[in-house]
Amino acid sequence: MTFLAQVELIKPPEIEYSAIAPVLIVLGAACVSVLFEAFLPKHQRWAAQVVLTMLTFIGAGTALGLYAGAETTTAQGITTLSGAVAVDRPVIFLWVTLLLLGFGSILLIADRSVEPGGAFVADAAVRPGTVQDRAQATRTGMQTEVFPLTLFALAGMMVFVAANDLLTMFIALEVLSLPLYLMCGLARRRRLLSQEAAVKYFLLGAFASAFFLYGLALLYGYAGSVKLADIATATAGSDKSDTLLFAGFGLLVVGLLFKASVGPFHAWTPDVYQGAPTPITAFMAACTKVAAFGGILRVLTVAFERTNWEWRGVLWGVAVASMVIGAVLGLTQTDVKRMVAYSSVAHAGFLLIGSISLTEQGLSGTLFYLLAYGFTTIAVFGVISLVRNADGEATHLSQWAGLAKRSPVLAGVFTFLLLALAGIPLTSGFVGKFVVFAAAIQDGLAPLVVVALVASAVAAFFYLRVIVLMYFSEPAPDGPTVTVPGAFTTIAITVGAAVTLVLGVWPSFALDWAGAGGFIF
């Protein structure tokens, strides 16, 4: 029986526990969080979950800080788990970004002062529109499952940006996506819209995952390995089938671009951003964007840099499409959340410009842009969650008329954030654009930058329109009120706006940090 002898003694892979500790902490806490849901009585869950989640962020942050701090200055990073996961400088930057933005999102998620009981449905099993549904909207409870779901999604994102082979990447993609699908459907108000968003996101997301998986399979056929480094090596030889390579690359990238809501793969974005509970929209807009572009950067730089002449033109077109779609369709929106969704599509185009620059500057510029954009976005959605009427959030633009008169502070903060999205100097948005465009011009993408600048100007129109509404129009008599936020939302908005200002005025620290090193594979 010779075939039995083929089974080698299996050696466990080397694991650098200190490096992956942040991910393990978040995942472990997510499991504990599930147990809390199982065994704690209903009235204790919210408090316990909030404490646990905060401790998780502190723990993961400390672990990351200890690891990054203990590194010798020469070490650019390591790979671990048989090379499936890399922990290098960009990954550490992205992990810190994800943890910070995740923390900001959790603050919005945990808030129960803006809407009594929180933005999440009290009893998800109740059918929308029924008497019971109206009753649940006024109850103070909420489905605290959103906390473990957030932690799982966050852990998925952290693995996604660190994944050094496509299979790990796919698993991470699913781990981050599945909780998000669910979380989209948990809104307390307008539940049909919310559930529609969840189903839409799920179906389209499943398609995107399938694309990714198909691409992965074709690339495996091409390179005989799912490791990014092996694919890169395979592209160096010329005797392999280019069809497999480019078909695989195309399908893979479609899956990634979908997650990053880059146009023309953005179709889900406005509906989902509008329907999902606002704190979840903030989480998706900030963290998912970071994770998706972290993945795109790694895949393009590590696996496909050598073949960039072949695919760059295509992504060039995609970036143009994204910017144009975001800027032009944003003009026609009448809902604040949809407007920000289209703005995020336009921003995805700008980020893609940085990603296809494939230089050190492109990498550091894109990383900085992600950090800056994430904080601004969280603050934007924090502000949006405060403008309410009897039916919940008043997101229709006409309801924002004359807001400056009712709440000058809120209008001032929102104006500042919109100017940041538009890229006016002294905000982080401007520095982000500057670094990304500088990298692009340096790498010969000047025409793309010109398109981007024109798109910025077009997009500025719809940001300005909101400012015009808030400041120059008279408030409607039955307009919405501005809720006085509790501590959590106040902190989230304040920190988001403060970081937007600090990164605009004094970006050196973050720029140096983003440019500390390249990918290790």
Binding site: T2, F3, L35
Partner: protein, 121 residues
């Protein structure tokens, strides 16, 4: 060269033969007692085409829950088999890993159980 795969070929042949045998033999050796449920598809008690009025043609949601849980633990078993076969070769590391895996599924199980996912009504 292909010798290691020989047992697999036997396996396939055996499986095919068994299936063929079952299908052919059943009509001859099985007892026949006709009733209404017998004529349904799957013979498991579910009305395949829903009654037009009662319950609006909905299936009880508990079926989905049960099916989902079944798949979950099914997959757990699928992973446990290969572990059991080569437990000695995987050593302590493998044991810890599989314990963690079982624990993870156990958390989900605890959640379902505590939240009443296993109660039929």
């Amino acid at each position: 060269m292909l010798q290691p795969y020989l047992p697999l070929v036997f396996m396939f042949l055996l499986a095919g033969a068994f299936a063929l045998f079952s299908v052919t033999a059943a009509p001859y050796i099985g007892p026949r007692r006709y009733n209404r449920a017998k004529l349904d598809a799957y013979e498991c008690g579910i009305e395949p085409s829903p009654a037009p009025i009662v319950g609006g043609g909905r299936m009880p949601v508990a079926y989905y829950l049960t099916a989902m849980l079944f798949i979950l633990f099914d997959i757990e078993m699928v992973f446990l088999y290969p572990f059991a076969v080569s437990a000695d070769k995987l050593g302590l590391f493998g044991l810890v890993e599989i314990a963690l895996f079982v624990a993870t599924v156990g958390f989900a199980y605890a959640y379902v159980w505590r939240r009443g996912g296993l109660d039929w009504n």
